[in-house]
Assembly symmetry: D3
Homo-oligomer: 217 residues x 6
């Protein structure tokens, strides 16, 4: 039977889950691992605060205990419950924030992060420090749009471009990471515009899970 | 037309190239990128010293200038010519040492490296420092076998196990990286024996190249 | 009306809460802040894993939202929910792990931590790194006793002494932090035995809260 | 007999000593340690240069050898003679610079320092590095006022506010440390104005000494 | 017989070699080591890219194997082949980039680098990181002049002054390193203008080689 | 008139001054700078504690203010008063500890220090951290001999060899620094025995001062 990668969107938004599912479609192939994406129904509607991060942990752990998979991917840029999930299951667990940053380091010298909310930046900075990766960070900047604006693709694309240009030109980033799940649709056009690599963290994480599952002769 | 990942073994040993080709076989699939592995005919027979590293650069750069590909992978654990190749071509270039370490960081807290030669350790340590990853390194230890012994799989496997156990038990590694191309055959048994992830760097790098090429839209 | 420091024990063990309450008794005085210690009834019975840490966050946040105080102290050496609680309330929140380490740095060059469980050490190490304090850490060692043994004071004291001596003699610590709430009774004898400062983190945190509350002319 | 905390102002200005004495008044209580503040008569009139720092050491060491106390606090933001004093006496010695920074780290992610003189900043930076705390420093800025202006509270307050706002808004500090003894009167209004914690280092140090002295059951 | 320091200019420009030879003239004296400067005929015309750096290694190694000397100095600010040369010969080998930075650290707190080309800065930054010296770097800025302009001393001097002033005033450097061989003629006037030390790396390296050779008994 | 390097031995031992004078004899030459070595009569008999370090500062500053020289060298491995002296004079001031370590970094990857007294090691470690050089330190070990034994060259040589071998073999040092002034006589034999460079810090510092003075035009 074929292997299974289970991607868990720890917020309760099915729209975001659908975006993630589309983002990783290029990594599905005949005979390859199934890549299933699920919504954490008991998760918060969005993960915007440290409290949201921490509160997603319990339902997430129950999910990895209940579900059968060969690799789990936690698809939120704060990697909620990554270490708790690793304690709860023997199955490998990947966090998209880690994987996105690590994939960026394989492409450039100094990464910049496009965050959604200003308020997430200190939380991300603490996480970066705990990973020992701060020395490679050029900067992080938020697009800072409200819910209504986030629904309008052209506004998001314009603001993301502006922020990414600042990361490149003012902060010295030579690779950019999208600091959120469900933004993959903006990746390719932004990369084309900037002229430097842009990483979608969900794609990076599923890619790493795939490479792991296909690494035995 | 389908995409192409060109894996360049910068030493002149076709046997090593064959080993690498086999190692990444699980990442080939119908409709996916071609994964071609080539030997750098003008490269040194093996890359054991800083001089070997530096001397591989010129033929390697000529290769990336001449060859047509969508991604290059330099398949030597010293990442010879990685930055020179990136200057020489607009095509993304991956180095297996970087990718192996980064893939390890997605799996554990502190990585250990199984090197072949004692003399490579200071070179690797300088590289680790230049990457800003030293804080996550538990240790590096060499198997220290001569050419004759390296040809005997059971001796290599036994010595690798011994060294990896020291990395885990004495140095505190919770993920192990094989510090050489062409050792993938030892990965799965070593992982099973140790009970912690073992990363083959060529697989990690080709996996990252694959994820990049399949990331749109 | 007088100020109030509310110390929250995020596990559900009233015995531990009582130990903490006794530990900070020396900081209570006529006209000074009330120092109230409460048990988080909905918390896990003990905080031994990352999951326990994360799961304590929701009830802890509800508590800081509901309770009226001039300073909160989270009395668990993993500082569960510290940042979430700071988002949830405008009242200052102290974490005993941070405060214990910081108080140790005011006394010595390199701190050693006496942990209860081996399994907590990676979690603590990640936290240390996120705080940027790793360079001052001499080491961390666990007493590694089971529940039955933890109830026997003479066994705990003997094992704690042994571990602290290793931190001092092998790891080079010149100040020792008790890596757990509710162990204050062992502090003074251990300090006398070792000949170097020993810090109880709950005392350190309540002391900092007290100094803050009494800092206006 | 009650315990005694002896706060030594290492410069010869009795006015500064009086300011410090007033600053720590909130930490005096019935039955608590005596908190005595003394002027180092042989000290320099002010500590403005590295030479002043170093020259205060000899009289300071003679003082800790001569005086009887349960804790010493060296009340100058360069912590002059801290390590020499620790060699000279078995009694715990606290330095207000260390304690001020450590207390700040218990309250925020990144501290900013309001210095008096531009020329002190390199000296402080060296000290910060020796403490391993540089990664948590957002910045340091001097108010840069001359002696006459320093005597005018409204000018000092206005300039301090300006500098602290720059630390918060341009450097990203979320907690501010007053980089001088004898400035405690500006603490509370500045904190109210900024909306983030402001630490007076003498209060922080005496608070730590107090917590230590009251830490035995 | 007297000792010999052989300074190797790894690019093929004899003019640069002459400049270096003049720069170190003050270190020649009766009875002291001969200081010979040679051009690496097979080297690239200038060392402007990582590829140039790497390609200089092979002829450089052949040179240190062939030549007889008591100390070698590699006179290019990228230290091409430093480690390879050390593997190739038992004679001490100095790199001028390392020596220039180290000599700067003996004079000031934070160094600034005046580079020739913008494109060299990432390469230098990687090198700085591999040396563990990044924390002492204030900044690096390029004069960014084309070949024609580089031949006009007044243009070079004016631009160098401008860049060095930015390093001092905006980046906080208190010592400046000329990030190139063959620029020694600008050192003294620039130092006089800036009021802070300016280091020529070739002079620094030959000085270190000289001190080594004259250190016995 | 010729330039003058004034080497100040900050302890009052004329024997040590004589040893230093002999150590730097190889750097004296016809037409070169005078290299004068003086004893700081008011200094402590030996510099063994932080207090000795700090107390040497005042007479040392008076000396640099009074004496006329083109470069000062403070010849004690704790660099007492280095920054104070730099404030007191416009003439360049070199510290032998800094210079010894920096010269070592030009020769090897990781330095080891042979200290005289165990008690100096924490002081040195703080200094190393303030210099940002800790990442390159392999270790420091003390020979730990009493005054009588220090007078017996064979005992010192034997113990120094033993300690240096531990630095090389157990700590991984590939270059060794003598952590004291006046030990230059042991340098060459120790280097010959170890097979790796051994640095005398006074020679390193005078060499740097010499290179500076001979760096124009």
């Amino acid at each position: 039977m074929s292997a299974r990668i289970l991607v868990i969107n720890p917020n309760s938004s099915a729209t975001v889950t659908d975006d993630i599912a589309r983002a990783v479609d290029g990594l599905r192939f005949e005979g390859g691992p199934a890549i299933d994406c699920m919504t954490l129904a008991e998760g918060p509607p969005g993960i915007e605060t440290q409290r949201h991060v921490d509160e997603a942990v319990a339902p997430l752990c129950r999910t990895v205990e209940r579900e059968s998979a060969d690799a789990f991917v936690i698809a939120c840029f704060s990697d909620p419950g990554l270490h708790a999930a690793r304690e709860a299951t023997g199955t490998p667990v990947f966090g998209i924030a880690q994987c996105g940053l690590l994939a960026a380091l394989a492409r450039g010298e100094r990464f910049g992060i496009v965050a959604i909310l200003e308020g997430s930046i200190p939380r991300h900075r603490r996480y970066m420090a705990s990973l020992g990766l701060s020395a490679r960070m050029a900067g992080e900047r938020a697009i800072g749009l409200g819910v209504t604006q986030l629904a309008q693709e052209d506004i998001v694309a314009a603001r993301m471009t502006q922020v990414a240009e600042q990361l490149r030109d003012e902060d010295g980033a030579d690779v950019v990471v999208l600091g959120c799940a469900g933004m993959a649709r903006y990746r390719a056009p932004l990369e084309a515009h900037l002229g430097c690599p842009v990483i979608d963290p969900s794609q990076a994480a599923v890619g790493m899970a795939l490479a792991m599952l296909r690494s035995s002769p």
